[in-house]
Every structure is written in C-alpha cells, then in structure tokens.
C-alpha cells in the first residue's frame, strides 16, 4: 500500500480496529437480544425492539448527538463509566461504540430471523435429553443459527467500516484516535479536487468490506451445509 500516506494508513488501521471491536463486543448482546425478541414474550418486548431499531431510523447525526449527551464527558453514563476507567469521549473506543450501535439493528435482525427458523421441537428434544435452557441454547440453537450469526456479524462489520455520521458527531475526528476511513473520505470530498484521494480510500474500504462479506458467505455456507448435513 505504498500509495497510502501515513495518515491514511493510520485511518485504515483504526477503521479495522474499530469495526473489529465494535462487532466482537456487540455480538453477544446481539445474540442475546435477538434470542429474547425471537423466543420470549415479556412486557416491554416491543419497546426493546423499537430501541434496537432506533439507530437505523434516526439520522446518524442525531444518534451521534444522543451518544454525546449520554456517553460524553458530561453525560450521565459517560461520567459513571469514566469512574471505572472506561472512557469513550474522543477515543477510538467511542468510535467503536458508535459503530457498534449503528450496526446493532442489522446484526440483531439477521440473528433473530435465523433463530425464528429453528424448529422449537428440536430444542424440546434437547430438553428431554437433560439439557437445561442454556445448554439447549449452546448445543442446539447456537450451532444451528451459526450461519445467521456469522452473516449478522459480518454485516455489522461492513456497516461499521462505513459508519461516519454518528462517529464524527460523537467522537469527532482526531487523527490516530478517531479518524476512521469514512471521515477521511468525507474530508477529501469537501475540498475541490479531493475526489481522487477519496476514491482511493473508498476502494480500499470496499475491498475490505466485500472480502469480509464474501468470506462470511463462504463460512456461512459451509456451516449451513454442515448443519443441513449434506
């Protein structure tokens, strides 16, 4: 990648790190939320459902602003968390938080649909064989939804790679800290003649995200074939 400047390389590295951690950390929450939405009936279920979808519906700037108000230095949660050493404001962790939240609805949707496709009769069979709810989940449901989980995770990763509006609003653009690829692309597009540089960055991020996507297809297909038993 000789044709990338050091700052752009930095942005690429950061984007990868942010997207990776955003995906990894949200994944368990995504699986749990999807499971709860798919299989449990509880009061507030629709509220949770709406909440999960909010980032998809809100303009990203608004999401970013809400994050700023909540997790910023002055925000209630931000202050509480900073006491235990977790700081989001103006850190790459904040970028990951923003990316994770923006990608969350996509992840949950994908996983939830695959959970709904699992025949509860198989889970019942697991229970009669002595597996508790959690073990049934771990040994029956989870392996069977693995294609959906992988798909959801990579989808979230791709989305995180492209996230811009919420991130820049929440943690702004600090080179080496919070300047992700999309921020860099945006900056290039603001000035006359920046198209070439922007294109270069877009190509890189597209190649990465598409590779991840294809890899996920491949993995998911392998897993699905294993699950279907052929």
């Amino acid at each position: 990648m000789g044709w990338l400047g050091p700052e752009e390389l930095e942005a690429l590295r950061l984007s990868l790190r942010v997207s990776f951690w955003a995906t990894l950390v949200t994944l368990p929450f995504g699986v749990f939320t999807a499971y709860a939405l798919a299989r449990w009936r509880f009061p507030g279920r629709q509220v949770l459902n709406g909440l999960v979808h909010l980032p998809l519906i809100l303009p990203p700037v608004v999401t970013g602003y809400l994050l700023l108000l909540t997790f910023g230095i002055q925000g209630p949660l931000g202050r509480a968390l900073s006491e235990v050493g977790i700081v989001f404001a103006f850190r790459w962790t904040g970028a990951a938080l923003a990316a994770g939240i923006m990608a969350f609805p996509l992840m949950v949707r994908a996983i939830r649909l695959s959970i709904e496709a699992v025949d509860p009769k198989l889970e019942q069979a697991g229970a009669t064989l002595g597996a508790s709810r959690i073990m049934v989940f771990a040994t029956v449901t989870l392996p069977m939804i693995l294609p959906g989980v992988i798909a959801g995770a990579i989808l979230a990763f791709a989305k995180a790679m492209g996230e811009f509006g919420a991130t820049i609003t929440f943690v702004s653009n600090i080179p080496g800290q919070t300047q992700t690829l999309p921020s860099a692309v945006y900056a290039f597009l603001q000035v006359p003649g920046g198209e070439a540089a922007a294109t270069r960055l877009v190509v890189i991020s597209v190649v990465i995200a598409l590779s991840a996507l294809l890899a996920s297809e491949f993995i998911a297909r392998r897993v699905a074939a294993r699950v279907a038993g052929s």
Binding site: Y65, F164, G165, I168, Q190, P192
Partner: protein, 235 residues
Amino acid sequence: RAGADGILVFAAASLKNALDEIAPAFEAQTGQEITVSYAASSVLARQIQLGAPADVFISANVEWMDVLQGKGLIEANKRVDLLGNGLVLIGGTSAPDMHEVTPETDLAGALAGGHLAMALVDAVPAGIYGKAALRSLDLWDSVQGQVAQTDNVRAALALVAAGAAPLGIVYRSDAVVEDRVRVLAEFSSDLHPAIIYPAGVTTSARPEALAFLEHLQSPEAQEIFERQGFSLPEQ
C-alpha cells in the same frame, strides 16, 4: 425542470435562517417564487458541475465558486462577494473571558487536557480558517494534538455546548445564538484569509435570477444578514 416555476437557489446550509427571511420578502415584491436548497457548499458545487438546474449559488467558501467559475458555470462578471464572517473562540457559559487571542494566550492551559472543537481543519472552511489563525499566532503546534475536528462547524459548536469540549473555534454567526456557549474571544480578521461568502448566477440561469442576486445586496437583505451575525465583506 426542478424549480420550474421559480428561481432555484443553491445555498450553503449556514445561510438558512437569513435566506428563509429574505426570500419571502422578495417573493412578495416580485411575485417570483424562490426555492432554496441548503446543503454543504461542496455538495452543491458538485451538483452544479453535474448539471443541477440551479439559478443562483451562494457558497460558504471561495474555492468552490472559483472551481465553478473556472468551468464556465458561473457568470464571472456577475459574481459578488456577498458576505463576510468572523471567527470566535467559544467556551462554556462559566468560562472566563479572554478578550483577544494573542501569541501569548495559553490556549493549551485553558484546555486543561480537554479538546478544542473545530470543523475539519483541512477540509471545512471554518476549520481551515481557524487553523490558519492559530498558525499565524504560533499556537497551532501547542494544541494540534487536542483538536477535535467535526464534519461541520455546527457540530463543533455542539461539542462545546454539550460540555464535551471546553473550547471551540466557530463562526461568530453561529456563536451568537447558542445559549450554552459564550464568546470568549474574537480572532482578528487579519490572522486568516478573509472569510467570504461569494454569490453568483449560473450561466444557465433564467434572467430573473439576477434580480434576486441584486436583492441579496439590498439594504433590507443586508440588515437581515447582519442580524444573523454575518458581516458585510470588507471591500
């Protein structure tokens, strides 16, 4: 054609308040309908390059207007420098006054480890101007690592308003209306290239567009602009 029954104005988003007040008056006077599309200057300029049916373009920076003019999309001899603006240093409501930013100002100390909110310093006009000013003051190197850049100047304002950043550099026109920030100091206008909002009519514009351009320079219009915190360009 979009805006077929009137004049289509492409204007930098920061002009919304002012133009929303000016346009109805013009409409009432002339019976001409004005439609304004507000977006980032870069977006609008690119659209005009690719054939957007705009009659009037008001940009927040000179470069994009130059690009369009260079491509023959703007009537060169009708172009005017419509407005000016100033840069200010803002802080939270309880931050102490600083009067003027000078090379001696301990900006880094005032930040106390926090961040200085600015628009993107290499891409967005307010950021570019701010960086130039800090450079002139030899303050840039001391704060460079603490600059939090946003995609537009309003977001930088929001960072300060929300208390996320102790200080920020924004346009005077933005700072005056926000209650949660106060202007700590003004940057002298000779610290940075002149902040100019050029306006022009496109080469494909209908004749009535010129009237609107002239109306923008009328005293009533100028008074509204000034009320919104803009200055008149130093001719």
